[in-house]
């Protein structure tokens, strides 16, 4: 196996395991906020690892840039989404 492939394999596996961890957290954790935390951290890290793992497989710089772009977008949306959810949970608890 070429070193690049081994690198890919390693990171993709790690990413997949993080996805699993995120979902387990979602299934197991008792309250909304901790579930949210588990989900956003694990999934984004997972996606990040997969993107890093796939970078050696790219045949051009643009393709690599697009991969990084996907990850950046995920960061942005995850950050916003978790803040929005957390805000909604907070409002629900304290009342308007």
């Amino acid at each position: 196996m070429a070193p690049a492939d081994a690198f890919t394999l390693l990171f993709v596996t790690a990413g997949a395991i993080l996805f699993l961890a995120g979902t387990l957290g979602l299934l197991r954790f008792p309250d909304t906020l901790s579930r949210l935390h588990a989900l956003s951290k694990a999934d984004n890290l997972g996606l990040g690892l997969i993107v890093i793992g796939l970078l050696p497989q790219c045949d051009s710089v643009t393709a690599g840039l697009k991969l990084v772009c996907v990850w950046l977008l995920a960061q942005l949306s995850a950050a916003t989404a978790s803040q929005l959810i957390a805000g909604a949970v907070y409002r629900r608890k304290s009342g308007p």
Binding site: C69, L72, L73, L76, S77, A79, T80, Q83, L84, G87, A88
Partner: protein
């Protein structure tokens, strides 16, 4: 392995559809529908239709979703569940629908082999359009009349939506304003649009030769515009404004004008002279992208809710 993947996707899609059919709460169903749209986008890549995958993710998972969510929020105060269909009626309907599905499944299985296809014909004709993406060639050259009429359909839907405003508000601005804009959303509405516009331009630009094109780019633009309006960074424009209407009709008008020019330049309606076919098509696409973005955005925004200023 790919077989397993396909099976999993199909099973998942059907489970989501059943969830949508059975769940009581409308909003739950709509969230599931958005998920369904995103997943269906994935499914289309398995059918090797990346153009459709992009469209489905954008329209099915994005813009339709926000339209339905807004409608649900609008209708929520009056949640009086209507008289449901009787149990017997439901069973009967279920049997009838199952029969339709089964008949359709048999028809799908009975498709002839080898499958009839226009792929070779499309490939042979592709060089004379100067394009590299056959789907774009079908949409803007071989079957350009379909696309042109479909643009009129979009505009007409918008006219229909606008006509639902009360008389004194007609011509005014639709209102997308929520009562509160959560702060993170304002942040998202500021950071996401530059990304989105970049992606839209890219989608439109690669569309001539690779999956993508005017619909996908237009939808992304529409979504970004909606986001800006939703976060109250910009108000929705008055529908009677000349500039709004000119953007709306710009794409179809250019399309139609070049179509008529074809009588003079290429011997027929919607025919392009071979030497400048590609620039003409890309020009039409550019104008259409803007028009689609404006139309989709205004369709989601709905009829006017504030009276036009004098």
């Amino acid at each position: 392995m790919t077989l397993l993947l396909d099976l999993a996707l199909v099973a998942w899609l059907l489970a989501l559809a059943l969830h949508i059919a059975r769940v009581r709460d409308d909003r739950n169903a709509i969230v599931a529908f958005i998920g369904f749209g995103l997943l269906l986008g994935l499914g289309w890549t398995r059918l090797a239709s990346l153009d459709v995958a992009l469209t489905e993710a954008a329209i099915g998972g994005g813009v339709t979703g926000v339209l339905l969510l807004r409608a649900e929020a609008h209708l929520r105060p009056g949640k009086a569940s209507g008289a449901s269909v009787s149990h017997g009626g439901k069973t009967l309907a279920a049997i009838a629908c199952a029969m339709v599905a089964a008949g359709l499944a048999l028809a799908v299985l009975a498709f002839p082999s080898p499958a009839p296809t226009l792929a070779p014909a499309a490939a042979t004709a592709l060089p004379s359009t100067g394009l590299g993406n056959p789907v774009t060639a079908v949409l803007l050259a071989y079957r350009a009349l379909d696309t042109l009429l479909e643009k009129v359909v979009l505009i007409l839907a918008l006219i229909g939506v606008w006509s639902l405003a009360p008389d004194h508000l007609w011509g005014g601005a639709p209102s997308l304003r929520p009562d509160v804009v959560p702060e993170p959303l304002a942040y998202l509405a500021q950071t996401l649009p530059p990304f989105g516009v970049l992606i839209a331009v890219y989608m439109f630009w690669v569309g001539a030769d690779a999956p993508g094109g005017t619909f996908q780019g237009g939808t992304v633009l529409a979504a970004m515009w909606l986001l800006v309006m939703l976060a109250r960074l910009r108000p929705a424009p008055e529908t009677r404004r000349r500039s709004v209407r000119l953007v709306l009709i710009g794409g179809p008008t250019l399309f139609l004008a070049i179509g008529f020019l074809g009588f003079a330049m290429a011997g027929g309606f919607l025919a392009y002279p071979e030497s400048i076919a590609k620039p003409l098509i890309v020009g039409i696409e550019a104008a259409l992208t803007l028009s689609i973005a404006a139309t989709l955005g205004l369709l989601v925004a709905g009829p006017a809710q504030t009276a036009p200023g004098r």
